[in-house]
């Protein structure tokens, strides 16, 4: 089901957690809410769920205004950061809970409930563990029980709060891929919150980058990475360098040195130049950014070189193929090949 959030504002006391946030989520989409802690991403998720109510604004489920509906009426599936499994119930009872507590007229027969719970446990690859208690499961297994439990009620939308936050790196990666598979198979509209950009970029159809209670950018992982639309997004996603520059007649200058980048049509004035460490080319000589090598590090297939570029004492980091860098090089000159200017 499609979910629309319109001009949502949420205050806790006097502190605004969300400020005029609007978001359209298409049916069947897998969306990531990405941001540093305190950016309001979890609040937005809980507002969609109905666990919080907005100070202002509306949440639509399809064409229906869901804002005044209780969390029970919204029929959502929510997976909590620490799973919130019912510790006194078996895995099977946890998964069937949402169906067994329904009033008699909407409750499937016991056999049907058991069949559906069994099917879901099959889907999350936990068949055989029906009789276990949550305390007897590993973190990854609990996570999957929580997901099966949320899906059992056939929710309009599946909401996951930091679904992999409490797991170790290896399990995280596996579960990430597996969640994508489940999503492709079941087609639930899914929103998940994360502070891990790799997770968001790898998993989501679209990423919503949030900061300080506002949405900074919405886009596909490619758009977010390749064309960040604000200094925050540029700095938050991936690695980036920032240099203070001046624009004169369409040429970028750092101090009095040309940077080797032209921006025809840009008005004169001060700006910040952003570029990624790998979006550069090495040059010899003038008309480029040059600096002395401070330190180099080999990270997997690339060499990271930290340069001190003189005048302002600014440091930049660039990434080179290892064969392009020999240890006797003390100075390096380069220019950015992909970059973006933000006016100051």
């Amino acid at each position: 089901m499609e979910v629309r959030v319109q001009n949502i504002r949420k205050e806790f006391g006097r502190f605004p957690a969300l400020n005029d946030v609007s978001l359209d989520i298409r049916s069947g989409e897998l969306i990531a809410l990405l941001g540093p802690s305190g950016s309001g991403k979890t609040t937005l998720l809980r507002l969609i769920a109905g666990l919080e109510s907005p100070t202002e604004g509306t949440v639509f489920f399809g064409d229906e205004d869901a804002s005044r509906k209780t969390v029970q009426q919204r029929n959502i599936g929510f997976v909590f950061q620490h799973y919130a499994l019912f510790r006194h119930m078996t895995v099977l009872d946890n998964v069937s809970f949402g169906l067994t507590i329904r009033p008699a007229d909407r409750r499937p027969s016991n056999a049907e409930i058991r069949r559906r719970a069994g099917e879901l446990l099959d889907l999350v690859q936990l068949s055989g563990l029906e009789k276990r208690y949550p305390a007897q499961l590993s973190g990854g297994q609990r996570q999957r029980v929580a997901l099966a439990r949320a899906m059992a009620v056939e929710p309009n939308v599946l909401l996951l709060d930091e679904p992999f936050g409490a797991l170790d790196a290896q399990v995280r990666k596996e579960l990430r891929r597996w969640l994508r598979e489940i999503h492709d198979r079941t087609g639930h509209t899914t929103v998940f919150v994360t502070h891990d950009q790799d997770e968001a970029l790898e998993l989501a159809d679209r990423v919503v980058v949030m900061s300080k209670g506002k949405i900074e950018q919405i886009g596909t992982p490619d758009e977010i990475y390749d064309t960040p639309n604000s200094p925050f997004v540029f700095g938050f996603i991936g690695q980036s360098n920032m240099l203070p520059v001046r624009i004169e007649n369409g040429q970028l200058l750092m101090g009095d040195q040309p940077v080797g980048v032209s921006a025809p049509g840009e008005a004169d004035g001060a700006a910040h130049l952003y570029f990624r460490p790998h979006d550069i080319e090495l040059l010899d000589g003038e008309g480029s950014i040059s600096g002395t090598v401070v330190v180099t590090r080999r990270v997997a297939g690339t060499r990271h070189v930290e340069l001190d570029i003189g005048a302002t004492g600014t440091k930049v980091e660039i990434e080179l193929p290892p064969e392009k860098f020999t240890s006797d090089r003390a100075r390096i000159a380069f220019r950015p090949t992909r970059w973006k200017l933000f006016r100051t």
């Binding site: 769920a49 666990l51 969390v71 029970q72 029929n75 959502i76 599936g77 929510f78 909590f80 620490h82 799973y83 919130a84 499994l85 019912f86 510790r87 006194h88 809970f97 949402g98 507590i101 329904r102 208690y133 949550p134 305390a135 609990r142 439990r149 949320a150 059992a152 009620v153």
Partner: protein
């Protein structure tokens, strides 16, 4: 655990490595001995004295004394009072703990302090409060009396005083437990479509059941054993408003030692049963707490 890596029993110089937190043998046995001696002197000895004193003239006499109508009435009254006070405090305790642990509201700290009040106030004062409220010189007392309702020197007064004194037990036990568990289990249940009652019944209550049982046990022990507050409001009417602790005092003052100690034995037994149950629960409970932490 404090284990010595190398024993120092041989020649004094072999003590190479010792775990930092371990003490010398002498200090350890000294401390253990002191603790055991203290327990024996102040706890075991008096308790043993109660039992021997009660059995002085044999078990036959013991039973005869207990079947005395006034003593029997006292036992019945104690059971009745506990039977009313404990369920009331069970409900109040859960409600108070729920409110404090799961909601944010103004005056929460004040309410928490207020719940502790019966613990900090002398039981005699707790009794006097009700004399002031319902006595013949109060506002409510004469009014209620003119409508045929007797509070003081009757069962209602005893129940009220007992409820007051035992109020904190259940709430105190549940508040930290519920605070630690947080609200996400309840939120999970609600998000799955459960109503408020279903959430309480199927999720909250099972999560707190061991703590609750423990609180109820303590509450019950105190309700049956309360002397001070009940003594003030009861009026000591034989066979009518005497609870077991009051009956013990009366019998003792009449030099009827066997009877006094026989009733005391019952109270002591209650304490022992409570302790045993409490220990059993704590064993079970600690596993559950540990499980809930792992969770």
């Amino acid at each position: 655990m404090a284990h010595e890596a190398v024993s120092n029993t041989g020649s004094g110089n072999t003590e190479l490595v010792r775990v930092a937190t371990s003490e010398s043998r002498l200090a350890r046995y000294g401390l253990i001995g002191l603790a055991l001696g203290f327990v024996a002197l102040f706890l075991v000895l008096p308790l043993a004295a109660v039992f021997t004193e009660a059995m002085r003239n044999g078990p036959g006499e013991f039973l005869t004394v207990l079947s005395d109508p006034e003593t029997f009435a006292a036992i019945r009254l104690t059971l009745l009072v506990a039977g009313i006070a404990v369920p009331l405090n069970l409900v109040f305790g859960i409600a108070a703990a729920w409110a404090i642990a799961k909601f944010e509201f103004r005056g929460k700290a004040f309410l928490t302090t207020l719940i502790d009040l019966p613990f900090s106030v002398s039981p005699v004062i707790s009794g006097l409060v009700f004399v002031l409220l319902f006595g013949s010189h109060s506002l409510a007392g004469p009014f209620l009396q003119s409508h045929g309702i007797q509070i003081l020197f009757a069962v209602p007064g005893i129940v009220l005083a007992t409820v007051f004194v035992t109020f904190p037990f259940v709430a105190r036990e549940l508040i930290p437990l519920m605070q630690e568990q947080g609200t996400s289990d309840e939120e999970a249940a609600l998000s799955l479509g459960a109503s408020g009652w279903q959430t309480f019944w199927y999720v909250t209550l099972p999560n707190i059941k061991w703590g609750l049982l423990y609180g109820v046990l303590l509450c019950n022990a105190r309700a049956m054993g309360e002397f001070g507050a009940v003594s003030v409001v009861s009026g000591h009417i034989r066979g009518l408003t005497n609870t077991m602790p009051l009956q013990v005092e009366i019998l003792y003052n009449e030099y009827n030692f066997v009877a006094a100690f026989a009733v005391a034995t019952l109270l002591a037994l209650l304490a022992l049963v409570t302790l045993v149950l409490k220990s059993l629960l704590e064993m079970k409970y600690s596993e559950q707490i540990a499980a809930s932490r792992r969770h």
